[in-house]
Symmetry: C2
Subunit: 337 residues, 2 copies
């Protein structure tokens, strides 16, 4: 039994820098035809010069693969001139509330103080990608942020907004309310809940931001993904950290899924009788929403078990040591002349 | 500035076995005049022979201190003869739902199937101590278990029941509904919420069962402790694990607080203007509820800072490295002739 996917895209990836970039970027590029590269480096990618430098590093790390990096800038108070200059080089601008997640200290403290930037982005048709969490109680942060999403979507009705890595039914409600709002969802938030993080033994390799939520939330997200909600795209939020930053007293937030995403999703969609919907979730919806023309690839998965390795470099993947019933057996790039 | 406590008691402690017992038991005995020793060893303490052996080990490990170990048996289907024989040697019997926490695999699967044991305990006036969690979603387990508490309290109205380490407003509701129900509360559940465990970086040393809950729950517990609810006793649930079982992919549940409990509580009660209530919370309520005559000790704390050590043996305490404004400066045992 096989399934073939056309140009799968991962619409939310952390490639990091330096050695980590060289370890993890090829693992994404080996399976995906493109992906949205997050800008929360140290320092953040918030100048066109830094963007060009980082784009070069990403291209070098994925050299030889048919892979399109869709680059993002880290949101700040950009001028119209900066936005115009950046537009051809980016898929959008990523907004982080200050301190909400890894390397987000340079993020925004007062979102409404940035209305002039949102207005310019709207007029230039530059998408806004958002890490949507308040600084409230950990289980409430996304729900509380939904009012900010509503404010942005209502105030800037032609601004294309992506709610990144949504984890709650509340965010799904926002998705229905506004034409200009789309969402990414990770693979892990389709399968785990807070129980997997702290319900038995505590698992640092499933600790991420936003934290996995309640079973009702996970089930609602999964239902939306399986029925291929037209505005929901795979965005893995694959977020590698070295093992000594995970298995320690102050464990960094992030689940590393890049190399297991397609086998994991094939298994999940198959178990729910929805393998025929996987193409839309992992590619078609993103192509339509962002009007992309990614490299033309075909990725074949077979029902041949994959044992998840204990680590890739010094990064421990989600479910290390477990077996998935599917594996990627062939990837072809189709060059058009 | 000083405060003197008479015969402080810790009504819920894990002393473990062997080397761990010898490391941690003296740390409790150095500050407390007595404590309730939990029976979830491997194998569980569920025979009178095992109880006598463990009591001997605890007495050896606390030799030289004026410390009374209040021993417990691990709940199982005991006969009336077994209960009668055990009664003089125990403060109560601890019930664990199977699999609910560390070393609880031998616990009860179907609580209502044990009604005959509860009835015998009631007629013999042997207290029942309960780890009250279902196998539901981690944030709901205690709330869901409240119906079991209500069943037990209503069906066996003269059975003295202690809800151990309560973490929710729901459990406080049960406390008000039944005269035969009391509760222990840990020090850490008076100060932390789930935010401290997974809201920033993830902290394995604050991971425990029951998991820390919402701010509203923590605040309700704290209010009850500070106003010295007559049925709420300190029970630290101090639960040591070696550091390599905490800072690892499958982190064991337990917060180790034994050596910092009294300074932590002095600080907490002082900050809330309730230092004069501490005596009742750490001793008087337990003495009244269990009708105890512990060793007569006086423990003096001064407002002299204590820096929490990085570890005790290979156990990392809660808040390692932080400073508390209070420290224990003198302990006296008063021998009566």
């Amino acid at each position: 039994m096989t399934i073939t996917l056309r140009s799968p895209l991962d619409m939310h990836i952390h490639f990091r820098q330096d050695n980590m970039l060289r370890v993890v970027a090829p693992l994404t590029a080996a399976h995906f035809a493109g992906g949205v590269v997050m800008p929360n480096l140290i320092p953040p990618v918030n100048t066109l010069e830094a963007l060009h430098r980082y784009t070069g590093e990403v291209n070098a790390a994925t050299y030889g693969y048919a892979f399109a990096p869709y680059m993002t800038l880290f949101f700040r108070d950009y001028s119209r001139e900066e936005l115009e200059a950046a537009k051809p080089h980016i898929i959008g601008i990523k907004l982080y509330p200050a301190g909400a997640t890894t390397n987000s200290e340079a993020g925004v403290r007062e979102i409404s103080a940035m209305d002039h930037v949102f207005a310019e982005m709207e007029s230039l048709d530059i998408p806004l990608l958002v890490h949507g969490e308040t600084h409230g109680f950990v289980m409430d942060r996304e729900r509380e942020f939904c009012e900010v999403y509503r404010y942005l979507a209502r105030t800037f009705p032609r601004l294309r907004i992506t709610m990144e890595h949504i984890t709650t039914r509340d965010a799904l409600d926002v998705l229905e309310e506004f034409d200009n709002v789309a969402a990414t969802v990770t693979a892990h938030h389709l399968v785990i809940t807070l129980d997997d993080v702290v319900g038995g033994l505590m698992n640092p390799h499933l600790f991420c931001k936003p934290i996995a939520k309640r079973p009702e939330d996970r089930d609602a997200l999964l239902a939306a993904a399986l029925q291929v909600h037209p505005k929901i795209m795979l965005g893995s939020d694959s977020a590698p950290h070295p093992v000594d930053k995970k298995e320690c007293p102050g464990c960094a937030a992030g689940v590393f899924t890049a190399p297991i995403l397609l086998p994991l999703l094939a298994d999940l969609f198959e178990r729910h009788g929805a393998l025929d919907k996987l193409q839309q979730f992992v590619s078609d919806n993103a192509i339509r929403h962002y009007r992309l023309t990614p490299p033309s690839t075909t990725v074949t998965l077979e029902r041949t078990p994959m044992t998840i390795p204990p680590s890739y470099g010094d990064v421990v993947p989600m479910w290390a040591g477990r077996q998935l019933p599917w594996s990627v057996t062939n990837v072809e790039a189709h060059h058009t002349s």
